[in-house]
């Protein structure tokens, strides 16, 4: 299900939070209601961690992560790094990387299997992404924009991209990512998709200006209507339990 919320009167929820299938990061300093909405939705399933990155609250745009790992920019302080390492599950590899383009959330878009990267990203960074996040990395642009991380939101089940993406680009990206893609907007016509919303396999959080139409597009492309967190866990359980004795 998709939820609408605000961070201190600001509808850019994707800037102040980062949601994956294994954890959720939330910026400090917002009102308690912001944090509690995440808690209500996610409490028993995944940890919700309050943090800052480099002393700032724009954590959603500075870090990139999925269920396998989390990449942090070079200006993350040691305390923040330690705090994240402590609070996140052990299966999540937390790594601080030296990359000139330090707003990793803007230059990397990823889900649990595949990642899109900024065309000017360092070679080492690309290898680190593949290692830490366990994904296949493709250097791409979206509707001519090199900030792939800002102009699309991906989950394992679908993706929402910049509204001006052409049909050919949509098809190409869809083949690359192996998920259905739709070109749309969030927050009443905002083109910066990833800043306006954050999503994982069973839930999404959008800015409160998001219209009902935009919300229904989001719910349908990310297949959120029938999604339940327990469904994911059950599927995993089937693959984990080999046989009953």
């Amino acid at each position: 299900m998709a939820t609408r919320l605000q961070f201190e009167n600001n509808c850019e929820v994707g800037v102040f939070s980062k949601l994956t299938n294994a954890y959720c990061l939330v910026a400090i300093g917002g009102s308690e209601s912001f944090y509690s909405i995440f808690e209500t939705e996610l409490a028993d399933v995944i940890p919700v961690v309050k943090t800052s990155i480099g002393g700032t609250r724009i954590i959603g745009r500075l870090c990139a992560g999925n269920k396998n790992g989390l990449l942090l920019p070079h200006n993350t302080t040691d305390q923040e790094l330690q705090h994240l390492r402590n609070s996140l599950p052990d299966s999540v590899v937390v790594q601080r990387i030296e990359e000139r383009l330090s707003a990793l959330g803007n230059v990397i878009a990823c889900n649990d299997h595949v990642a899109l990267a900024h065309t000017d990203l360092d070679r080492e960074t690309e290898e680190l992404i593949a290692d830490v996040l366990g994904v296949e990395v493709f250097r791409q642009t979206i509707a001519g924009n090199i900030l792939v991380g800002s102009y699309c939101a991906l989950s394992n089940r679908g993706g929402l991209v910049h509204p001006h993406t052409s049909i050919e680009d949509l098809d190409e990206l869809s083949t690359l990512l192996q998920i259905p893609l739709v070109a749309g907007t969030v927050n009443r016509g905002s083109e910066v998709i990833a800043a306006g919303m954050t999503v994982n396999d069973w839930t999404a959080f959008c800015g409160s200006d998001t219209t009902a139409t935009e919300l229904s597009v989001i719910e349908s492309v990310f297949k959120l209507r029938e999604a339940q967190p327990s469904a994911i866990v059950d599927e995993m359980r089937k693959s984990l339990i080999d046989s009953y004795v």
Binding site: Q6, E8, N9, S31, R188, G189, D209
Partner: protein, 341 residues
């Protein structure tokens, strides 16, 4: 024959340049548009055409060159010329108006989007100022008057009422405020006026003329009796921001320091409104500007002034202005702007 009284020369204080992060970004947006338009040949002309359907085309004759000619080189971006035009509010203006009104109620979390929608729906009274032929559709100013009674059932208006009542710490005024919001609500107009900090002052008289003329036209032209009456405002309620000297002991108008003004009005017309207001009160704001102790700011609105804001704190100001004082206000605003060298 008695000598005519000399009109008191208003000492012009520099308006503070961008303080809050919002204002800074708004000013950056404005200056970015300005620089883009450096190639525009048109000069600003000084007359305002008011068309019958309320659209006001404002052109200001004064060449910005003249106002900046005595600056001694601090205008780093050079002189930019632009044509501003006034439009009725449209649904497309949502994001621009919302950005301008982001700090309207300080940092209170409220239904700002609903409030902006109300402003945009009321096309008969309300004006937005944009650049003429601007592809990027940047919004520089919004001004409107909303009838408290007509919109009192909306969530945003209730939140606004709660906020204004909660920040009022003067007991005699709380009762007056309550009356304005309940019994007299049908006759009260909330005057909303917000703009980018460095909007040329020459636009102010036409902007306010546009507003008050639209109000009087609406009284005659609206299709239903109820709507016509909803624009017969007897009082205007204004919520705005000022800077008060830290040493001033809370009451407006008392000079603590002989050199520094006790109150600085972010918007020039607020000083005029304040003078004709029936009552007003100020309250501390939670969002404060960030100043370093050594900071100095210069601002080219009327003339060039250097200005130290470390001794000032931002306060909100709520005023009630009777509708019959508006003609006086309009005259004073015109003379204030026209007097500028």
């Amino acid at each position: 024959m008695a000598p005519t009284a000399k009109r008191p020369r208003r000492k012009l204080v520099a308006r503070p340049v961008t303080f809050s992060p919002f204002a800074r970004s708004a000013a950056h947006i404005a200056s970015a548009y300005m620089i883009k338009r450096q190639m525009i040949e048109n000069k600003l002309h000084e007359f305002c055409q008011l068309t019958p359907n309320g659209e006001c085309k404002c052109n200001d004759k004064r060449n910005i060159d003249e106002t900046e000619s005595d600056s001694d080189g601090e205008s780093s971006e050079g002189v930019v010329q632009a044509d501003f035009a006034f439009f009725d509010p449209k649904p497309d203006d949502f994001h621009g108006v919302k950005t301008l009104l982001q700090t309207f109620l300080d940092n209170k979390e409220w239904n700002l989007s609903g409030f902006v929608d109300l402003i945009l729906e009321q096309t008969t009274v309300g004006t937005v100022a944009k650049l003429e032929d601007d592809d990027d559709d940047g919004l520089f100013s919004v001004v409107t008057a909303l009838n408290l009674g007509r919109y009192k059932d909306h969530k945003c208006m209730k939140e606004l009422e709660d906020y204004v009542l909660s920040v009022c710490h003067e007991s005699n005024l709380v009762d007056q405020l309550r009356v304005l919001f309940s019994k007299k609500a049908r006759d009260v107009g909330l005057l909303v006026s917000q703009r980018v900090v460095n909007l040329p002052a020459q636009l102010l008289p036409p902007l306010y003329d546009a507003l008050f003329d639209e109000v009087s036209w609406a009284v005659e032209d609206e299709p239903t009796e109820q709507l016509r009456n909803s624009f017969r405002f007897k009082t205007y309620l204004i919520v705005t921001k000022i800077y008060m000297h830290k040493k001033a002991n809370g009451k407006l108008g008392e000079k603590a320091d002989s050199e520094e003004e006790p109150v600085i009005y972010v918007k020039a017309e607020d000083e005029l409104f304040h003078e004709v207001s029936s009552w007003s009160f100020s309250f501390p704001l939670k969002i404060q500007h960030v100043t370093t102790s050594e900071a100095s700011f210069s601002f080219h609105l009327f003339n060039q002034f250097t200005f130290f804001l470390k001794n000032y704190v931002s306060m909100g100001l709520v005023m009630a202005v009777e509708a019959d004082k508006i003609p006086t206000f309009r005259k004073q605003l015109r003379s204030l702007i026209d007097d500028e060298p």
